[in-house]
Amino acid sequence: MATTPRSGGASGAAQRPNGTSQNKSCQFKLVLLGESAVGKSSLVLRFVKGQFHEYQESTIGAAFLTQTICIEDTVVKFEIWDTAGQERYHSLAPMYYRGAQAAIVVYDIQNQDSFQRAKTWVKELHKQASPNIVIALAGNKADLSNIRVVEFDEAKQYAEENGLLFMETSAKTGMNVNDIFLAIAKKLPKNDGANNQGAGAGRRLNENETNRQTNNCCK
C-alpha cells in the first residue's frame, strides 16, 4: 500500500520527512454519522490505532481523534469527530458536521434500518453541510456478509446515484478501513488553497468563530 497511517497523530502539524520541500500538508475535518452500534467508533479505532475492541463503549455526545496519512507527496491529517448514534443525540450533530470537509456515513450490512438511517443522514448532509463535502458510505460489519440484509449492489447503486464513495468495511478484520479514509483523502482537494480551510477546523465549532479561521494549510 502506498500509504502508511501513522499512529497517534496528536502532535500538531504533520512532519515532513527528510525536509523535502515539495511535501505538502493538509488538515481535514471528517465526521462519522450513522445509527447506533453500526460500528462508527470501531472504524475510527481501527483506523487510528489499528485495534478492535469487541466491547467498544457506546459514544455519548461525540469523541475526537486524529490520524495522519501520506498520499503521494502530501501529508493529510484527519481530524475525526465520531458522533453518538442514538437518534436523540441528533440535535448535536450539526455542531460536528458543520464545516466538515468529509463525512463517512456508516450502516451495518445486517441491519436494514441502519441503511435507511444512513440515507437520511446523506440527505441531511446534502441539505445542511458545506456544499463541497466529500461523503463516503460505509457498509460495515462486512465480516458478517453471510447474514447480510443489505445487498452490496443496492447500496452501491444508491451511492452512485448520490455521488458518494462507497465501500463495505469491517472494523473487526480491518477490511477496507484504511482504504475508505484513503479514498476520501484522494478525493479531497489539496492544491487549491480556497477549498482547504482544514487547519484548525476542529475549532470552528462555533459559528461566531468562523472568521477566526486560519488559512495556513498546504504550505
Partner: protein, 832 residues
C-alpha cells in the same frame, strides 16, 4: 468429554478423606473447584464477536445463591474465575459429611430421621426459591454437632445451568431418579427421590449397587419403571428384606411414596415435612435447643455473618487460589507441554492429551481462619458489637487511621472490621440512624456494605414497588438498550455475564416504564451499572437507588428534549470554572474549548461512562453526600488535574486529551472537589432546573430569575443577597465586596468594609489589577469571595470579567444589584 468421570465419587482423590475430619471450630469456609466447558477456539456468536466464556456465565448465575441463608444450607460466599476457565466456589463448610458420619458409627432410626428431616427442610427452601439440587448424595450432606444438618454444594446444578456450562455430568447416578436418566431435569421431586435413596441406604444398612458399572446401575434404575414397589425390590436385591420388613410402618410409607416412579405420586418437600414419621423431629426443632449453652462459647468473630468473615479473611491475606495450590488442586504446568504437535488446516489438532489436572476433582479445600481469629482476638467486644447510642460513642477508634489514604484504610483488616461492624449496625437501625450514617459515610464507606449504604444515603426505603413494574413488554427503546448493554462496562465479570445483561435490561426497562415523562438516553446504562454491580442480588435496591439518584443529581436530564437543561448545566459549569480556575477558564474560552464538546458524557452519566467502576465507586462515595451541584465540582477538579497540559495546549490537543481521558487520580479529584464544594456559597451554583427541597425565600435567587441567556452572557456566577448577608454577618474575613457605584452614592450608603471602585473611572482595556490604582487591591481580594456590586448590572458583569482576566479567584456578581441590600432587615448598611 469422554474421560470425565460420571460418578465423581469413584474418582475422588484418596486424600479427600483427610479434609473431612470432624471440623475444628476454625474451619468454617471451604473452596471447591472445577473447569467450565471451553468454547471451541474459533467460534463466534452470530454478531461476529467472541462468545461469553462459560465461567463468566457461571459466575453470574451463582450470585443468586449467595443470597440463600438458611440453617440447613451452607452459605455460598464467592465464585472466583481462575485461568483457563477454572471456576472456584467458596462456601460455608462445617462438620463432616454424612458419608463419613455413617462410617464412624451406625445411626439409629431416630438419628436418621432427624438428619433427613433437615435435608427435606433444606430442599424445601430451595424449592421455594425455584431451585433444584440434582446432586444430592451423602457427601453433600454435612453433619455438625447434635446432628445439625447442612446441605453443601447444592447450587452446582443451578450455577452451571443444569451442567450445560461444564464438561462433566452433575449428580451421583446411584441417587438419580429414573426421570433424570431419561433426560427430564428440573423437578424438585427428583431430589425427593435422592433423599429417599440415601435414607434407605442407611436404614437398610447397605450400599447401593457397590459393584455395578455405571451403565448397569442406570439399567437397574430404569427398570424400576416396571416395578410397583421400588423399595421392596431394592431390599430384596441387596439382601436386606428382613430389615425392610422391620421398618417402621410410617417410615416405610414415606420411603415408598418418595420412590414412586411416576412424579405425580411422589411428594413435594413441603408434603414430606408433614409426614407422620417426622412428628418427633418437628417437635424437637420447634423446642428451643439448650445445647449451645454448655458448649464452649464461640469466638466473637464466629458470631459475625459469614460474608463478613470471608471478607476479612481475604483482607487478612487469604487467597483462595493459593490454598488450592497448596492442596495440589491447581497445578501449574509448562504451557509448552500443551502445544499441539500437528494442526490440520481445518483447525483440528493432535498433540498431548489434556493434562489430568483438567479433570473434575471434587476435593474440598478448607480455608483456615486461625490467622484471622488470632489477629482480631485483641479487639474489645465493643468493636464487635458497637453501641452506637451510648454516650461514649463515637469513641476514637483509629483516629489517626483516618488520616491515611483511602486505599490503605480499605485494606487494613482491623480498620475495616471496625467499619463493617459499625455500618452493619447503622444499617440495621436505618432510617432512624440516617444522620449518624451520613456522618460516618463522610469519613469513608466500607466496600463490603457500599450497596446498602448508598441506598441509605439516597434515602431509599424498599417498598416492593419494583416487582410491580412492567419490565417485559416490548417498547421502541428496546433496540437501543440491547445494543448498549453489551458495551457497558464489559470488562467486569458480573456485568458481562448473561445474568448481568438480563438484570441490566430489566432495570433499564423498569426505569423507563416508571417514568413516562422521560426517555432512554444512551448513557443511562452506564449510570445504572454501578448500582447493579453493588446490588447484583438485590435488583430492587439497585432500582430504587437509581430512582432516587437521578432526580437528585440529574433532574430533567432524561427528558426527550433536554437541551435547555444540558445547556444550563454546562453554562453553569463554565461559570464555576471561571469562579475557581479563572486563568484556565480564560484559556479554554479563548480556544473555544466549550464543555458541549467534552462534558456531556461526564455529567449525563455522572462520570460513569468515562471512568472504570472501581474509580466511580470512590467518586460516588463522596458524590452521595453532596447536593446536586457536587458533580460540577468534580468536573472542575478533573480540569484542575490536567491544568498544566490544558494551559499549554491548543484546541486539538485539549480535545484529544478528553477523548481518551488520561489517568485521573481519584483521591485528589475527590479531595479537590470536596474543597471547592465547601468553599462555594450555595447560590453560586443556582440552576433553574435543579431539584429543590424548599421554595426560595426573598433574599434567594428566584427560580426563574436567571435565564440561559444570562448564563451565556455572564462569565461569572451570581450570588444571592442571602449569601452575602451571611458572609457579612458570620465571615466578614471571607468576603471582599467591590462597590462599583459612584463615590457620591457610595458615601451616602455602603456595606461596611466594602471597596469602592467607581465603574465610570476604570479602564478595563488593560488586564492588570494595578491599572485600577487601588492600593494593595490584590491583597484585599486574596482568599475571599469577591462580590461585584452595582446598580447597573452590566457594569458588574464587565468588571467581574475583568477580574477573571486578571486571574482573581472566586469572583461573582450580586444578584439584583446594590438596591437589594436595602431590603435586608435589620439593616446592614452604613453611611460615611
Amino acid at each position: 468429554m469422554a474421560n470425565a468421570p460420571l460418578n465423581t465419587k469413584s474418582n475422588a482423590n484418596p486424600n479427600a478423606t483427610a479434609t473431612a475430619q470432624p471440623a475444628k471450630i476454625e474451619t468454617r469456609l471451604c473452596a471447591i473447584t472445577f473447569f467450565a466447558r471451553l468454547h471451541p477456539g474459533d467460534v463466534c456468536g452470530s454478531n461476529g464477536l467472541p462468545l461469553t466464556p462459560n465461567s463468566i456465565a457461571i459466575l453470574g448465575r451463582a450470585q443468586r445463591l449467595r443470597e440463600l441463608e438458611h440453617e440447613n444450607l451452607c452459605q455460598y460466599l464467592d465464585v472466583i474465575r481462575g485461568k483457563h476457565e477454572r471456576t472456584i466456589v467458596v462456601s460455608e463448610y462445617s462438620g463432616c459429611t454424612l458419608e463419613e458420619h455413617a462410617k464412624r458409627s451406625s445411626l439409629s432410626q431416630t438419628q436418621i430421621l432427624r438428619i433427613f428431616y433437615q435435608v427435606a427442610c433444606g430442599i424445601n427452601v430451595l424449592h421455594a426459591h425455584k431451585l433444584v439440587v440434582h446432586n444430592l448424595e451423602p457427601k453433600h450432606i454435612l453433619i455438625q454437632e447434635q446432628d445439625h444438618v447442612k446441605l453443601f454444594n447444592y447450587g452446582l446444578y443451578h450455577m452451571t445451568k443444569g451442567g450445560a456450562y461444564v464438561p462433566f455430568p452433575i449428580g451421583n447416578i446411584r441417587y438419580m431418579a429414573p426421570e433424570r436418566l431419561l433426560g427430564a431435569n428440573g423437578n424438585i421431586k427428583s431430589d425427593v427421590w435422592a433423599l429417599a435413596m440415601m435414607m434407605l441406604e442407611l436404614l437398610l444398612q447397605t450400599t447401593l449397587w457397590p459393584k455395578l458399572k455405571l451403565s448397569n446401575i442406570a439399567r437397574k434404575i430404569l427398570a424400576f419403571g416396571r416395578s410397583n414397589n421400588v423399595l421392596e425390590r431394592i431390599a430384596r436385591e441387596h439382601d436386606c428384606y428382613n430389615l425392610y420388613q422391620q421398618l417402621d410402618v410410617d417410615v416405610r410409607a414415606l420411603l415408598e411414596r418418595c420412590l414412586s416412579v411416576p412424579l405425580s405420586q411422589r411428594p413435594l418437600p413441603s408434603e414430606l415435612l408433614a409426614y407422620p414419621c417426622f412428628d418427633p423431629q418437628r417437635e424437637e426443632l420447634r423446642a428451643p435447643s439448650n445445647g449451645t449453652v454448655d458448649a464452649a462459647p464461640l469466638p466473637l468473630l464466629l458470631r459475625c455473618p459469614l460474608s463478613q468473615i470471608y471478607h476479612l479473611w481475604q483482607l487478612a491475606g487469604g487467597d483462595v487460589q493459593a490454598e488450592l495450590k497448596k492442596e495440589g488442586l491447581i497445578r501449574s504446568e509448562a504451557p509448552i507441554l500443551a502445544l499441539p504437535q500437528v494442526v490440520r488446516l481445518n483447525g483440528s489438532s493432535a498433540g498431548p492429551k489434556r493434562s489430568q489436572s483438567y479433570l473434575m476433582d471434587d476435593r474440598i479445600v478448607p480455608l483456615k481462619l486461625n490467622t484471622l481469629v488470632q489477629r482480631l482476638r485483641r479487639l474489645p467486644a465493643s468493636v464487635y458489637f458497637p453501641l452506637i447510642h451510648s454516650p461514649r460513642f463515637p469513641y476514637e477508634f483509629a483516629g489517626e487511621m483516618q488520616q491515611l489514604p483511602l486505599v490503605i484504610r480499605e485494606r487494613d483488616i482491623e480498620y475495616q472490621f471496625h467499619r463493617v461492624r459499625l455500618f452493619a449496625r447503622l444499617l440495621q437501625g436505618y432510617p432512624h440512624t440516617a444522620e449518624l450514617l451520613q456522618r460516618e459515610a463522610a469519613v469513608d464507606i466500607p466496600p463490603l456494605l457500599r450497596g446498602p449504604v448508598w441506598a441509605a444515603l439516597l434515602e431509599v426505603i424498599p417498598n416492593s414497588s419494583y416487582a410491580k413494574i412492567d419490565k417485559f413488554t416490548a417498547t421502541s427503546t428496546d433496540r437501543q438498550i440491547e445494543v448498549d448493554i453489551p458495551r457497558c462496562h464489559q470488562y467486569d465479570e458480573l456485568l458481562s455475564s448473561p445474568d448481568g445483561h438480563r438484570k441490566l435490561k430489566r432495570l433499564l426497562k423498569a426505569w423507563v416504564t416508571a417514568h413516562p415523562q422521560y426517555v432512554y438516553w444512551q448513557g443511562l446504562d452506564s449510570l445504572t451499572a454501578p448500582f447493579l454491580y453493588l446490588n447484583f442480588n438485590n435488583e430492587e435496591l439497585a432500582f430504587l437507588s437509581l430512582f432516587k439518584f437521578i432526580p437528585k443529581y440529574l433532574q430533567w436530564f432524561f427528558l426527550q428534549d433536554n437541551s435547555a437543561i444540558i445547556r444550563e448545566y454546562l453554562s453553569k459549569f463554565s461559570q464555576l470554572t471561571a469562579f475557581h480556575e479563572p486563568l484556565l477558564a480564560q484559556h479554554l474560552a479563548s480556544i473555544n474549548f466549550i464543555p458541549e464538546l467534552f462534558a456531556i458524557p461526564w455529567f449525563l452519566t455522572m462520570f460513569s461512562h468515562v471512568f472504570p467502576l472501581h474509580k466511580i465507586l470512590h467518586l460516588w462515595d463522596k458524590l452521595m453526600l453532596g447536593d446536586s451541584s457536587y458533580p460540577l465540582f468534580i468536573g472542575i477538579a478533573i480540569l484542575k488535574q490536567l491544568k498544566s497540559t490544558l494551559l499549554t495546549s491548543g484546541f486539538n490537543e485539549c480535545i484529544l486529551l478528553f477523548s481518551d481521558l488520561p489517568d485521573i487520580v481519584m483521591e485528589t479529584c475527590v479531595i479537590e472537589s470536596q474543597k471547592m464544594y465547601e468553599s462555594t456559597p450555595k447560590s453560586i451554583t443556582h440552576r433553574k432546573h435543579a431539584l429543590r427541597q424548599q421554595p426560595p425565600q426573598t433574599l434567594d435567587i428566584g427560580i426563574d430569575d436567571v435565564e440561559l441567556k444570562h448564563l451565556l452572557a455572564e462569565q461569572c456566577p451570581r450570588i444571592s443577597a442571602k449569601d452575602v448577608l451571611h458572609l457579612v454577618q458570620h465571615a466578614p474575613g471571607e468576603l471582599a465586596l467591590i462597590d462599583l457605584r459612584s463615590v457620591v452614592e457610595f458615601a451616602r450608603v455602603q456595606v461596611p468594609h466594602s471597596i469602592n471602585i467607581p465603574f465610570a473611572t476604570v479602564l478595563l482595556g488593560e488586564q492588570r489589577l494595578d491599572a485600577l490604582n487601588v492600593p494593595q487591591l490584590e491583597m484585599q481580594l486574596r482568599g475571599r469571595v469577591v462580590v461585584c456590586v452595582s446598580n447597573i448590572h452590566q457594569h458588574a458583569v464587565e468588571f467581574s470579567q475583568f477580574l477573571v482576566a486578571c486571574g482573581i479567584l472566586r469572583t461573582c456578581i450580586l444578584h439584583k444589584g446594590f438596591n437589594v441590600l436595602h431590603s435586608i432587615e435589620p439593616n446592614i448598611l452604613i453611611s460615611t
